[in-house]
Symmetry: C2
Subunit: 206 residues, 2 copies
């Protein structure tokens, strides 16, 4: 099946389904339904069935979904059935938090390295990692074949560093800086934008 | 128009549209189209027109949208035409970054206070803020009528603190801890989940 045919907004819901399924597994659950998933997530059951049907048949009418099977299939579809090494760029507050973040376990990623340009930080620790010199960034990323980066640098530096990352072979950038990055079409960027999440909630406050 | 009738996934796209419109404004643009917005955002033009049509008439066939007008209308719909005071709970790496975050300007929010329970941190600075004692949290939030909180505490503490926040009148919680919060139906929770964003990108990496 070609990846090109699935709308990105559908792809974007798969991680949300996977997270809910993994939570159900951790609660000891074995079977669920599009109705139950929908209630947990605030998405209609019909939407969930339609989204999943784009990738194959995962459940039977009337018996619902086997949670473990559906989770494994979603991990394969999202290419997180293995573990991606992630480079964290910028060892400020957010980068340091990412180096210590415990929410990646069993979800397809591990932080492999963290870089900064500040001589005072290089060689010191962020979580379990020794902060590396960002002037070595391109070489290390190339040598180790890293494809995924989290960018936690000041907004003024983000575009220039993104270009270095792309040249070094990075294909996916999670951007914490509040600016738009310009990258080639074969590189994906996602923003962590806390304000969008806040706005989605204030809609409901009278 | 009742807020109840609009699906939450549609509401969730409005902040994304608003962010794109505000960026266009900062580029000096005056008029746009659902086609252009769609290309910027990876959402179909038809979806954008359908989403916006749920809230009224914002453009004319053939002439597109006046960016400033549409942005103002979206701000009103999302209740961010004013400024919400936000309480940050937890002055660790992420809380400290939030206290200094510059991505909220002109988007409907400002950090108003930051709390921590660590006696070593209370009274010290995080950005421009003096860190307050979290044992005063409920009273301060009640007195000042704060409705919005960002929760950047360890996962083990998050549920208990969320309950205190809800009792104090908080209606919207942006949760950075990698756990599910149980809150009453009249309180909204959004997660900052970097792994979901990463998974959405690895889908596209061969």
């Amino acid at each position: 099946m070609s990846a090109k045919l699935i709308p990105d907004i559908v792809v974007g819901r798969l991680p949300v389904y996977l997270r809910a399924l993994q939570r159900m597994l951790s609660e000891g659950r074995r079977v669920t339904s599009s109705q139950e998933l929908g209630e947990r997530l605030g998405i209609s059951a019909a939407q969930i069935r339609k989204d999943l049907s784009q990738f194959g048949e995962f459940g039977k009418q009337g018996t619902g979904y086997t949670i473990e099977y559906l989770a494994e299939r979603l991990k394969t579809i999202l290419h997180v059935d293995g573990v991606w090494d992630v480079a964290v760029i910028g060892a400020g507050d957010i980068g340091s938090a990412l180096a210590r973040y415990e929410g990646m376990n069993n979800r397809g990623f591990r932080v492999a390295m963290i870089f900064d340009s500040d001589p005072e930080k290089i060689g010191t620790k962020a979580g379990a990692f020794t902060i590396l010199d960002s002037s070595d960034m391109a070489n290390v990323i190339k040598e180790q074949g890293i494809k995924v980066a989290m960018l936690s640098v000041p907004a003024s530096a983000a575009q220039k560093i993104a270009e270095v990352l792309v040249d070094a072979g990075i294909k996916a950038i999670l951007n914490y800086a509040p600016i738009n990055l310009n990258v080639p079409a074969n590189v994906r960027v996602q923003h962590i934008d806390p304000v969008s999440h806040l706005q989605r909630m204030t809609y409901y406050i009278e």
